[in-house]
Assembly symmetry: C2
Homo-oligomer: 451 residues x 2
């Protein structure tokens, strides 16, 4: 296609632009980065304007702004609502990054930076695909609306409100999203399922001051003892969640679904080696792709209390803390799950410890039908560029807003990912393989033309 | 006694001097404070010189220096080796201090600073008692040697070496120590027992990188899950240590010992209220003073892993950590205890997690006979000043060097404490009640005269 030459000519310029965006530490979870968030939103708006999009807006919300733009000059053609996010995950532990997270660096054809694959690098593909189509053809083959938010990594608290208030403005025939991954290098995938998410924070208090283990050890509660025993009660020895009611709404895997998973031909031994694991671990009776794609999980993301410094401190800590998230599947209701976890914690907390639970995020899982013609066209587009047709997969991650966009607008979600599973999203040394950046541009152009 | 007037006249000057010493952040556990440690040692040497002590030395060791001084001009009289330490505990969490730990402040007759009661404030009493005796009498009633070390809070790794090499130099008839507490305000105590101490660090690793719970949650080991389940296995539901062999060498409490504990008339309800506890907690069948004075304990002093910042981070941490100390009693062998804990950890670690154990401190418990005449004289000295004879107690804390000094030199240890149990040693807002500073000066003068 003629856009191919355009992308080759503009490759350096495009990557330089992307690096500019990646250099802005737009961490949505940390309030000190509010100004960076605003700069990253404005940067997106400017990029959309440069691309030729119209009605570009940076829309304030109660949290971080939403960037909107449209180009509606293809009467009779479908409308694609392209969704993405310009916010990124926190970066600690910083010492594990080989190069600083906000100083983009290319090594081995991979672009290293926080946000490189999740999601600035991937939504940037859509901006540049539209720019190329407009530059080469002076028009777009479909109507396009962009909606790029700054709160995806904190579960999109404000976009649903904007969506409800602006349903007509956002109306489209499909929502198009690149925030997922290929199965592996050269094996494209279209995600037809996302896990839901709920999260909570747990705080335990035992005394009004830290105490000396010499004077008090053995005679008073230790907040850390109470915390580890409480948290250990959340799983059984086989890794299954022990919380009563947790699995309500989880559907058994049908033989057809299990067959789809087998088709992926996932190499568990390769994964084990890549991640330096002694062994994979999880619920018995399920393969890795089943555990991650179709089973819920409860994960401790952070646990802390007492002395973490150099040397010994004989302290009995007065408080201890944990951060927990769950990934949900099928019909699990996040509120039901959180309430049952909270009840479990209250029932199991050790005498002498006072429990505080803060429920935070709540998002349902999302599933879509791969036989939808739009999803079939997306698979075809991959085949044109990659030489391999995309498989339909279930993704273990959560993009809580996808379920809401699809439900409120009543349209299918087309999740065309260009990341790779080992690109360290949410971890140190996040990166984006530039092979998929280049092919992603062509795939999106191909898809939009095919609609 | 005539020294009383001297102490009144010099009170402001003495406290100003002590504040100078307390302002030096001589935290032995943190290597960045090496220079402060050296300054605090030199400060002690200068104070001993000003007091009139002779042969003052700052003796380098493989770790932090030892300060020595003597005054040996009382032929035919006994020799007291006065031991103390100029190093202090770390200060975090710093935000819980009402005033900065190294800016001494008096509030309500209490001197707030790290080291105020443990142990700069208490060893300072001895320096000033000797100074007063020399100023008023031009001589001391006994021979005195000072040995003030800088590694007590890290279990005195180098003083035993110095002690073995300099047994003659340190030879004395008793070792005199103020590093313990009264039972409560107005109720003096002489400690005839100290718990031993052993410590270890535990590290678990599961993967070569932190992982995203969306892509991997449910399918790979989580270092925090492995850690909380491992640590929870160390105690049973009644707070008893579950490690096989842990209680080897612990002696049953004799009826006589239990009666001594009852004599203390300890008010558990008052303690519960003071510390803001919902309830006391510990091994069934024992009172608080028995649990702390005559039973061993295994305490988690620090546990951490994963994300501790603001907001949510859906990370599966690749590593998790814990710091553990045990207080030991009677004939428990610290090496035996550490080896059994390590064996327990290796037997209970979850598949998929790699365990690293680092054994650190190792000190036996110490017990002395209260019928020794020197201890009886110490109790009399308290009675002269406080109007109440000191009780003989078992202290839950550990001063590992006491057992070694007593054993190597073959002499009794006289532990005359002037702290109070609620003075937050090893915790934020450590302080020293100045009533006991004033009475401590008189008590030590009285005791030295009585020998």
């Amino acid at each position: 296609m003629k856009e191919q030459a355009y992308f080759q000519e503009n490759r350096e310029k495009n990557l330089a632009e992307l690096n500019e965006w990646l250099s802005i530490p737009s961490i949505s979870a940390i309030s000190a980065h509010k100004e960076d968030i605003n700069r990253a939103a404005q940067w997106a708006a400017d990029a959309l304007t440069r691309a030729g999009m119209e009605n570009v807006e940076v829309i304030p919300t109660a949290g971080h702004p939403i960037v909107y733009a449209d180009h509606l000059h293809a009467p009779g053609k479908p409308t694609a609502l392209i969704y993405g996010h310009y916010d990124v995950q926190p970066v600690d532990p910083l010492n594990l990054w080989d190069t600083p997270p906000f100083e983009p660096t290319v090594r081995d054809g991979k672009l290293f930076a926080r946000g490189a694959t999740d999601d600035k690098g991937q939504i940037f593909i859509h901006i540049k695909a539209v720019e190329a189509l407009l530059a080469e053809n002076k028009e777009l083959p479909v109507n396009v609306k962009f909606c790029i938010e700054g709160e995806e990594e904190i579960s999109s608290p404000n976009l649903p409100i904007y969506l409800n208030d602006n349903t007509d403005k956002l109306r489209a025939d499909m929502v198009l999203i690149s925030d997922t991954s290929l199965l592996e290098k050269g094996k494209p995938a279209i995600s037809t399922g996302l896990r839901g998410l709920c999260s909570l924070e747990v705080d335990l208090n035992t005394a009004n001051t830290d105490l000396h283990s010499g004077s008090f050890g053995g005679g008073v509660p230790n907040a850390l003892h109470a915390l580890v025993s409480l948290l250990a009660s959340l799983h059984d020895e086989q890794g299954r969640v022990s919380v009563d009611g947790f699995y309500d709404g989880v559907l058994p895997l049908s033989p057809e679904m299990r067959e789809e998973f087998v088709k992926q031909g996932f190499n568990e031994e390769q994964l084990r080696q890549d991640l330096g694991l002694e062994q994979l671990y999880g619920e018995e009776g399920y393969s890795f792709v089943e555990r991650v794609g179709a089973r819920p999980t409860l994960e401790l993301n952070g646990v802390w209390g007492g002395f973490q410094g150099e040397g010994t401190k004989t302290v009995i800590p007065k408080e201890a803390h944990a951060k927990i998230t769950c990934r949900l599947v099928a019909d699990q209701d996040p509120q039901h799950v959180l309430d049952h976890i909270e009840a479990h914690l209250r029932a199991h907390v050790q005498p002498g410890a006072t429990l505080h639970v803060k429920q935070i995020e709540k998002a349902f899982a999302f599933n879509t039908d791969p036989s939808d013609p739009v999803l079939q066209k997306a698979a075809d587009a991959y085949e044109q560029v990659y030489g391999v047709r995309a498989l339909f997969t279930k993704d273990g991650g959560s993009i809580p807003i996808v379920e809401k966009l699809s439900r409120v607008l009543g349209i299918p979600a087309v999740m065309m990912g260009f990341g790779l599973p080992d690109e360290n999203l949410h971890a140190p040394n996040e990166h984006f393989n530039l092979e998929n950046f280049d092919k992603g541009l062509l795939t999106i152009v191909q898809f939009l033309k095919s609609l």
